[in-house]
């Protein structure tokens, strides 16, 4: 008989670290009066994003021969915003999210996501709270990384590019980015179009900027180009910037947050644009989440929200270099 390895890939020590992080997180929010909620993983529609591919499941209502398409959530953002629009007040959730085609040292297609929303807050206030929680978790981890006391760094997207590469990312053309990548020795992506500005920015971010972030102390990267706003508000400075932030610890991205977009028209336009780009890339069109858009229409209170990859936090707390060390059964042995 073929032998099947039933044992977990993660050590029990790392499972204990995970459990402790979950308990710390729940205590943190209980003390701050944030309500824990649970929302569905199987939804009729979800995020429409150029680079996020949801996994499709089939649901048979009782007695039905014909299955209904249901999507596993790529995050719980839509359902949680429906709760906010209905008047929930501040809420958090620890749940699973699913993303097709994502597997690597820092990726498992099924992962644990901590997501929370703060009505009335902007992204800077929310960054303070992310800092408090992540700082507490990582500083109390026995095998964790060295996190100096004091504030995390906050770098604008512009400053991070200026420091690492010497140019202002808001002011260079796609062809300049393409040339800079060449000078920097960053291998191009085959088939990457010379005029795809965001793709070149992302390539340079991955190859030359991310690896500089969060080594002295954890670092927030904020104020993204508006073309990378996703679900964030856009603010008009000398150039328009998206009020979006990410948190990096030792070069690893662990959180993504927004001063949330509340405008239903703008949101719908962004979904259509994402679907248009998906079509160009030969990807499947995704259904619009009409209940989510209805919630925005009814009025999402001004708020800030963030999603944290808890597997990566556990990985850092353990001083590990791969996410497989903290997941009992990663996809290959699930």
């Amino acid at each position: 008989m073929e032998s099947h390895d039933f044992r977990p890939g993660a050590s029990f020590e790392s499972l204990r670290v995970r459990a402790r992080i979950l308990a710390q997180t729940r205590n943190f929010f209980a003390a701050r009066g944030v309500l824990e909620v649970e929302t569905p993983l199987l939804c009729e529609a979800g995020a429409v994003d150029q680079h996020l591919d949801p996994i499709l499941a089939r649901y048979h209502p009782p007695g039905s021969q014909r299955p209904l398409d249901r999507w596993l959530v790529t995050s719980s953002e839509h359902s949680m915003k429906r709760l906010l629009a209905a008047g929930s007040g501040p809420i958090y959730q620890i749940s699973r999210a699913f993303r097709d085609g994502e597997r690597g040292r820092l990726h498992n297609p099924e992962f644990t996501i901590l997501e929370w929303y703060r009505p009335g807050w902007d992204h800077h206030q929310l960054m303070d709270e992310v800092e408090a929680l992540v700082g507490e978790i990582l500083r109390s981890a026995p095998g964790g990384p060295r996190i100096p006391e004091g504030r995390f760094d906050r770098w604008t997207y512009r400053q991070a590019f200026l420091d690492a590469l010497g140019f202002d990312p808001h002011k260079v053309s796609a062809s300049d980015l393409c040339r800079i990548a060449g000078l920097e020795g960053v291998p191009p992506l085959p088939g990457l179009e010379a005029e795809d500005r965001d793709a070149w920015l992302n390539l340079l971010l991955l190859a030359r900027v991310e690896g500089t972030l969060g080594f002295d102390r954890p670092a927030f990267l904020l104020d993204y180009p508006p073309s990378q706003a996703a679900l964030a508000r856009v603010r008009l400075d000398d150039v328009p910037v998206a009020e979006r932030f990410e948190l990096y610890v030792y070069g690893v991205e662990i959180a993504n947050g927004y001063h949330e977009l509340c405008d239903p028209k703008e949101q719908e336009a962004r979904f259509h644009e994402a679907n248009r780009k998906r079509r160009e890339m030969g990807k499947a069109q995704l259904p619009m989440d009409l209940r989510f858009l209805a919630a925005l229409e009814a009025g999402l209170p001004p708020c800030a929200g963030v999603a944290v990859g808890l597997d990566r936090v556990a990985m850092l707390a353990l001083g590990s270099s791969t996410i497989d060390d903290v997941i009992a059964f990663p996809i290959d042995r699930a």
């Binding site: 990457l192 793709a199 992302n202």
Partner: protein, 190 residues
Amino acid sequence: MANYNTSEFRKGLKVVIDNEPYLMVDMEFMKPGKGQAVYRTRLKNMLRGNVIDRNYRSGDSIDAAEVEEHAVQYLYNDSRNWFFMNSESFEQYSIDKEFLGDVHKWLKDGMNVEVTFWNGKPISVDAPKNVELKVEYTEPAARGNTATNVQKPAKLETGADVFVPAFINIGDVVKINTQTGEYLERVSKS
């Protein structure tokens, strides 16, 4: 021609880029939270040894290199070409000395080695990790000097120049690490 899709990328894959065979020595799936996935690879040219970096997008593919490894026996050389025989098929190959590089200096008649073939052509020869070779010449052992950390030059039966401890004599058989060229131990005394 067979090819590998990004989902099959892994260390150790042998691929063809610009008509030359490469070994994938490193591979990482990278994806920013809100951006396109990138497969970052590091590839070693199997002919020339240089290393290149290449990025790929999900769904891209690279041609597979038809690479085979065979155990062969080293027969002899005419100082330009080194001759080998496949131990199973008895087929014989000759490999240019230039191409062999440093490996040739460890090869002794009858020794078994691994030869890598690409499209039927031998492209690399791997000597065994350790070889046992006779010392052809070295200065006589210094009497009374038994310290093992004092080394002296020695020429081995294959022509290789190595450093050995002071107590080694002509005719001794020594074990050498072919990767570093370092002396490991004395196998037998003359």
